[in-house]
Symmetry: C2
Subunit: 116 residues, 2 copies
Amino acid sequence: MFDSSCIFCKIIQGSIPSTIIKENEYVTVIENIAPKAPTHYLIIPKKHLIDVAQLTQADQQFGWNILKIAGEVAQEKKLSGFNLISNNGKSAGQSVFHLHFHFMSGKNLYSGEFKL
Amino acid sequence: MFDSSCIFCKIIQGSIPSTIIKENEYVTVIENIAPKAPTHYLIIPKKHLIDVAQLTQADQQFGWNILKIAGEVAQEKKLSGFNLISNNGKSAGQSVFHLHFHFMSGKNLYSGEFKL
């Protein structure tokens, strides 16, 4: 379930401290310690999954609860706009190889080169 | 299930043409007609859901299959790196109010101001 060398596994298990925003049986939402937006959380499954490409049917509850808890956090924090972003693979900018989604709000991410 | 004024509902129902990359019972993956990366797909649930904040437990299969099919597409297209991005709410850059995730590959999205 966990990888002893993974920083996110250590955070989930509590051996590295974090500020928990919300959690359930399958996922935890923590403050990003280096925020890039006024609100910047990380949504992390409580299983050492590498990335979205590795998800199988057996991981359904971990995957679904990432989206479900994102919606719950948005409602509870009364955030009418938010971006969910997952980088999968080193070439896509992933730096911690434990699946996670960035939850960001309060910043226009698309003021630069492209508009999605 | 569908909204007759929604462009993504029309695409799902086939009344507006699209290039389908992959689909299953719950979601469809199409080419973005205005790509912002060498690979740029849109993953769209086959139900008129507004955004992630609107998801409820009843939408589990729609939500889960977004992530599941993203992983399948990455494997089938042999894309080792990809970004999944969902903008929720006008203030976060959402322009079509039918839940969707951008699937992008082949471009460094974070060469500008911030690195996620």
